[in-house]
């Protein structure tokens, strides 16, 4: 079953009229074979197991997960780099899985990505203007002059002066500037959806705030949708309309951002929230033992039934025997748990400014 599809913010942002999801992923599965010495098959990493989600036009879907959750693998599977082992990825009405290279390129034009390491995603031997022009050249947009104009346009859009930055190479840029160049490149083709894979995690706090504001501004000015992936919940909540939580390759919970944080349904979400050190020194320090136990299991041998059960304070026999499926519990929230925490947040509680935390 797919998680909540009727995110109220998403629908509202889409103008209430859009009937079709911009991106719909169904039952995605991605696995990697781990080879021992000598090339012998050592095991299979179940990086993404049966994940389904939808992104509506104009909305930002945030995905939160820690190491090993599979969130980055999920992002790459959506882009078919490499294609998932099974499942469908329907983008703007067309299934990307199994497309031939030429058709894939055509269809994927409006789907772009910004990566975590700003310098790693820019070729060190290229100049900034060429880096941004590359997708335009590949898709044969206009002639040389038109492309150059577009490059200047997007550089302005991300706040970099084309005259000053166009001829620089990545090593002459700072981290924030390099990430802006990466964003400019992603925006050059006027995409509909941008996947941000930990796009601000490597940046200093103040620069991170600048880049986040840039994302928001572009969202408004260009009508973009985002899939925003991060391990920092506060960060994800800052930019997202809806949030999905991943653990060890599976979705635990999904729903409107505000609801997730005020009334988390899944024990893992609760543990994540409790683990965040609060900048309020008056708040009592909660011992981590109450929130979550033990170490994350290996994705090669995930636990039977519910994958979180080995660390869950509420686990019972049923959790080992039967895998919980995602089910909607109202208020736009879905959860995959046999014993969810509480009732979903009431719609009235989603008014901004509500400061009570459960």
């Amino acid at each position: 079953m797919s998680p909540s599809t009727s995110g109220p913010a998403g629908r509202a942002a889409a103008g209430g009229g859009a009937a079709e999801a911009l991106l719909e992923a169904s039952h995605l599965v991605q696995e990697f074979v781990v080879r021992d010495y000598g090339g012998v098959k050592g095991g299979v990493v179940h990086a993404v197991s049966d994940v389904s989600l939808r992104i509506w036009p104009g909305e930002t879907l945030g995905i939160v997960g820690e190491t090993g959750s599979g969130k980055s693998t999920l992002a790459r599977s959506l882009l078919q780099a490499p294609p998932p082992k099974s499942g469908a990825v329907i983008f703007q009405g067309q299934d990307l899985v199994g497309l031939r290279r030429r058709e894939l390129l055509d269809t994927r034009r409006h789907l772009q990505m910004v990566f975590q390491d700003p310098f790693g995603s820019l070729d060190p031997t290229w100049r900034v203007a060429d880096i941004i022009e590359e997708p335009l050249t590949a898709y044969r947009i206009g002639d040389r002059a038109a492309r150059r104009r577009r490059v200047r346009e997007v550089l302005d859009l991300v706040g970099l002066d084309p005259a000053q930055y166009g001829r620089r190479r990545p090593r002459e840029l700072s981290g924030g500037q390099a990430q802006r160049v990466a964003i400019a490149r992603a925006v050059a083709l006027s995409p509909a959806l941008i996947i941000c894979d930990e796009a601000v995690s490597s940046l200093d706090v103040l620069i991170q705030a600048q880049v986040l504001n840039l994302f928001e501004r572009l969202r408004g000015e260009l009508g973009l949708s985002y899939l925003f992936i991060a391990h920092d919940l506060a960060l994800v909540k800052q930019v997202s309309d809806r949030v999905a939580v991943m653990y060890l390759g599976k979705l635990c919970e999904a729903g409107p951002a505000e609801s997730i944080y005020q009334a988390p349904l899944h024990p893992y979400t609760r543990a994540l929230l409790d683990s965040i050190p609060s900048p309020d020194p008056e708040a009592a320090r909660k011992p981590a033992g109450a929130a979550i136990r033990g170490e994350p299991p290996s994705p090669i041998h995930p636990p039977s039934g519910c994958r979180f059960r080995t660390r869950c304070p509420r686990a019972q026999d049923r959790c080992a025997a039967e895998e919980p499926l995602m089910r909607e519990l109202g208020g736009g929230q879905s959860v995959a748990c046999h014993f969810p925490l509480s009732r979903p947040a009431q719609p009235a509680a989603q008014v901004a400014g509500q400061t009570e935390r459960s």
């Binding site: 705030a209 929230l273 050190p277």
Partner: protein
């Protein structure tokens, strides 16, 4: 080991003559392509026994470089001036042999990336015993016993079985615990955790922080937490030092700092961090620009070009770090008034 009381009193910083670590006017200069860069600019602070201190700042603020200068871990190209006394004993300018003596024994450090701090080709048990035997003349069997003791102290399950494992067989959190075990090998009086939880998941971070604080209480250590994460500082420490552009710009007891922020820079940091209780899509208050180039120091306050409260005086005259309220130091001509963070 007693804490001892050495000379170096009367500086008037946090604490007094019984300071465990007394750093005064510590400066570090690097030569880069013919230009001199001032990485740490006249930093002064003290650490008391059993105190938990956070040093907070962004990259380039000098927080790591200053602590490495104290540990003697900087490359020879670095010019270190000033004084850092540990229990009265001067650490700056020690010979390599003396540094090896005190580094790891009196003061130990845990680094950011456990994957790279552990030797992947060596069994973990050996790495712990190596740390033990570097400072104490113990037999191999005694060292092994002690190592297993340390591994269980840092809550590694089944330490005697895992003694012979290799680092890649451990998760990130477990590797960091191993690093802590190695650091604790010789009962240091002071443990410096340099972004020790930055590469870890938030759930693992909470576990490791709990561990560190429990160990601190158990072993009577002082703890310095170097981080860019203000939340971490707020939740786990007694006192906070905020650094910017190589110098200390604000320092205070944690509660005091977060409820009465004074430095506009600290205020900016607090406001720029996404908070859970803010609604989605709210714009983050943002400070433009970048920290100054360490090779081209400015006259006046280093934060002035970016500061929303800056005036003429700030650009001309660098404000000194002074105790403006009891226990609360800041370096600003026009500090923020009360209103708390955000």
């Amino acid at each position: 080991m007693s804490t001892g009381s050495g000379p170096g009193a009367g500086h008037g910083g946090i604490g007094g003559s019984t300071a465990l670590l007394d750093v005064r006017d510590l400066s570090v200069r690097f030569q880069r392509r013919g230009r001199e860069a001032l990485a740490v600019n006249s930093v002064t602070f003290t650490v008391q026994p059993r105190q938990t201190l956070a040093i907070v700042g962004e990259s380039g603020s000098g927080k790591t470089v200053s602590c490495r200068a104290v540990m003697g871990l900087l490359p020879p190209a670095a010019q270190v001036t000033g004084s850092a006394r540990f229990q009265g004993r001067e650490l700056i300018g020690l010979s390599d042999a003396d540094i090896r003596q005190h580094c790891g024994r009196d003061v130990a450090m845990v680094f950011q990336d456990p994957a790279r701090s552990l030797n992947p080709t060596m069994r973990v048990g050996t790495q712990v015993t190596e740390a033990i035997r570097a400072h104490q003349p113990v037999s191999r069997r005694d060292a092994r016993d002690r190592a297993i003791e340390l591994m269980s102290l840092v809550r590694i399950p089944l330490p005697d079985r895992r003694f012979a494992d290799y680092p890649h067989q451990f998760s990130g959190g477990m590797r960091q615990r191993l690093m802590i075990a190695i650091a604790l090998a010789c009962h240091p009086r002071l443990l410096i955790a340099d972004e020790a939880t930055t590469s870890l998941d938030v759930t693992t971070q909470a576990q490791i922080m709990d561990l560190l604080l429990d160990l601190q209480a158990q072993l009577g250590m002082a703890l310095i937490l170097i981080s860019h994460d203000l939340g971490l500082a707020a939740a786990y420490t007694d006192d906070v030092i905020v650094m910017y552009a190589g110098g200390i710009v604000e320092q205070a007891p944690t509660r005091q700092l977060f409820s009465h922020v004074r430095m506009p820079y600290t205020q900016a940091l607090l406001e720029a961090v996404p908070q859970l209780d803010r609604p989605a899509h709210s714009p983050l208050p943002v400070i433009g620009g970048r920290p100054p180039d360490p090779g081209a120091p400015l006259a006046g306050c280093p934060f002035a070009p970016r500061c929303p409260r800056a005036r003429e005086r700030c650009r001309e005259d660098a404000p000194p770090l002074a105790e403006q309220e009891p226990g609360h130091y800041w370096a600003c001509w026009f500090p923020c008034q009360d209103g708390g963070p955000g």
